[in-house]
Symmetry: C2
Subunit: 169 residues, 2 copies
């Protein structure tokens, strides 16, 4: 929960004061801009993490999760400003963490199992750990998209910058 509560501030700090060209930049065809990622995170708050936790707690493996729509943000974010999306994400996350705390999950609850439509049996503990890692994955994505706008500008330093060269580290 410490990480989950920080993510809205992290993404706000990365993006809120940037010029539009940075916020709307992507990595080429069929890749997402930082603006798209914020919409995706909002959709996750609405339909993915806590709703799936409730399905596990109420139905166990009997009811598989609804499939997650990875493209919902393209319609939902249309005409919105980045600032309003950042505010919505922060509010939705705060509300979800309040609801998560109210569930007072025990260790036994965390071991309860549900059914992912593609991955099969998963535990509530795995779902919540994935919520955290998914946040961080998108912090990485946003940072990478921004940095790659300077792929040429950095000149010979490119060799030292894993974020641009794509080298794993």
């Amino acid at each position: 929960m410490a990480v989950l509560s920080c993510t809205p501030r992290t993404i706000d700090a990365l993006l809120r004061d940037l010029p539009e060209t940075w916020v709307n930049a992507n990595e080429g065809d069929d890749t997402w801009s930082p603006f798209d990622v914020v919409g995706h995170l909002i959709h996750g708050e609405r339909t993915d993490w806590l709703p799936r936790a409730r399905i596990i707690l109420e139905h166990g493996e009997a009811v598989p999760f609804d499939p997650f729509d990875r493209y919902a943000q393209f319609a939902a974010s249309q005409g919105r400003t980045l600032a309003s999306l950042l505010d919505e994400f922060a509010a939705a996350r705060a509300e979800n963490l309040r609801q998560l705390a109210a569930l007072r999950l025990t260790d036994a609850d965390l071991d309860r199992r549900g059914r992912h439509p593609e991955l099969g049996v998963v535990t509530l503990r795995q779902l919540l750990a994935t919520w955290v890692a998914h946040d961080l994955d998108h912090v990485v994505q946003i940072s990478r998209v921004l940095a790659r706008q300077y792929s040429d500008e950095v000149g010979p330093w490119r060799a030292y910058l894993r974020i641009i060269s794509g080298a794993q580290g």
Copy 2:
């Protein structure tokens, strides 16, 4: 400068409220923890970016940059708290951005050349672009180190999480 001024807040949001075990976690032998990265960023503010810009402006290619010590933070951060390092980084960055603005760099200045001890001739424009990309590279590194603490906990979702699987995206 928009990105450079945001980075201290981004890293603060990622780290300040986390338990110590997360802040000191790394990716194995000879890898850095988030705590180490903050010390490295401070050392960069003191010895790398702005000092190198001044060398270019004052000496051009005649005087190569001092080599950067990638390990300075291990001694410099000893006994420090993360909170004090975050504060020091924010203050040093703010002061450097004030000094950078005071240089009132022109397009002609940005094309001026200096000499990197390993990479050879570089421009001031490339140095400043690298400062930005280097910030984002370490935001990625911190996020990745944190996420990988959950490599096992996410269970079957591992396949979907590039931050853990290491797949490029």
